[in-house]
Amino acid sequence: MNCHQAYEALQGLIDNSLNKKELVEIKTHVRNCPACKAEYRALKMVAEGLDRMPLYETSPGFNKEVFRRLGLEYKPQRRPAWQSLAMAAGLSLSVFWLTALAAALPTLLMGAKAYKLTQWLHHPELILPSFQSAILKSGLAAYQTLGFAAKVAGWLLKSSALPTQMAVAGLLALVLVFITMRFFRPQTSL
């Protein structure tokens, strides 16, 4: 390879576009030719400078302006704030309730068992103080709710739409809050 042939190969070297044979030839030449070595260094410096060319940002209304000029209605991609808020609320509520249910599981099962032992009475409130009766009832309700929640969770996991999952989880959390408030009302009246 002479210096004239090396000219194109040097550019190819910069662009990583040479095959193995060309690569060996140009490297051998550059090692033995100070002129081409200097040329390679200069080109490399230019290429590295060019690689750092920044990308520029367009103005914020760019997409909207394109749509306006096309005569199309512009609907921004961003989801409305209320939707994000509802999703966040639904998510945190369901996380809270799933954690709470998991933590309370042993207690709830014991409550349910106790309730079964006393169910021959049909009306525990007749022989038990009202708050104990309420706790037993809520234990069973929670036991049943857990089974229902497991079913819903299974369905949610199978469903692919995240917004649907979040909406249902949020709704479920609200229902649980409602149920709990009803069950604990007798206690607050004590």
Binding site: Q11, S17, G49, Y56, E57, F62, N63, V66, Y74, Q77
Partner: protein, 188 residues
């Protein structure tokens, strides 16, 4: 090169009347299109208009896009033609557009335009040297070094043979090298 495999799917959705898909395509590529056009025309307001023109033309021509090729090279073909048309309408710059063999002629450029842009752009050596190059050279350097297009992708985007891509790219880099050495780069 940064292109996305689901571009073709987005184009399909646009053709089916889903304009939100086009919004996504704009968001995905506006910086790249704007940056290369800005390198060519060196005026931010013109570059923004021309980048918008590019997406408007692309939207109207979507049915002619062949998904076998990357969407971005197709988009850059439109961007290139849009910028070249703009430059051709500017008498001061038309001489420097397309003659590969012509020597570098600084008098081809609109000096007042460049001076006003220099105030906005950063004053690095690369920018100073780039500013002295003809628009098509600035364009090919941006496609290769900023967008990391291959020779064949540049050939596709500019509608020129790969041999011409190499000649233009190599000349552009040599001119850059000479300019930067003249300007004293890398400095004492």
């Amino acid at each position: 090169m940064a292109h996305n495999p689901d571009d073709a799917a987005l184009v399909g959705r646009c053709l089916g009347g889903d304009n939100a898909a086009f919004d996504k395509l704009i968001s995905r590529y506006k910086r790249q299109v704007f940056s290369v056009i800005y390198r060519m025309v060196r005026n931010p307001a013109d570059a923004e208009d021309l980048a918008q023109d590019t997406f408007i033309k692309a939207f109207r021509a979507l049915s002619s896009y062949d998904p076998k090729f990357p969407f971005i090279t197709w988009l850059f073909k439109i961007a290139h033609n849009t910028a070249i048309d703009h430059l051709r309408s500017n008498k001061a710059q038309v001489l420097s557009l397309d003659i590969e063999e012509s020597p570098l002629q600084d008098e081809c450029f609109d000096q007042t335009l460049m001076d006003s842009i220099d105030a906005l752009s950063d004053k690095s050596m690369i920018d100073k040297a780039l500013a002295t190059l003809p628009p098509v050279y600035r364009e090919i350097l941006a496609l290769r070094h900023q967008q990391e297009f291959s020779y064949s992708e540049i050939s596709e985007a500019l509608g020129i043979p790969e041999g011409t891509v190499k000649i233009r790219l190599f000349r552009a880099r040599n001119l850059m090298k000479e300019k930067m050495l003249t300007l004293g780069y890398p400095g004492p």
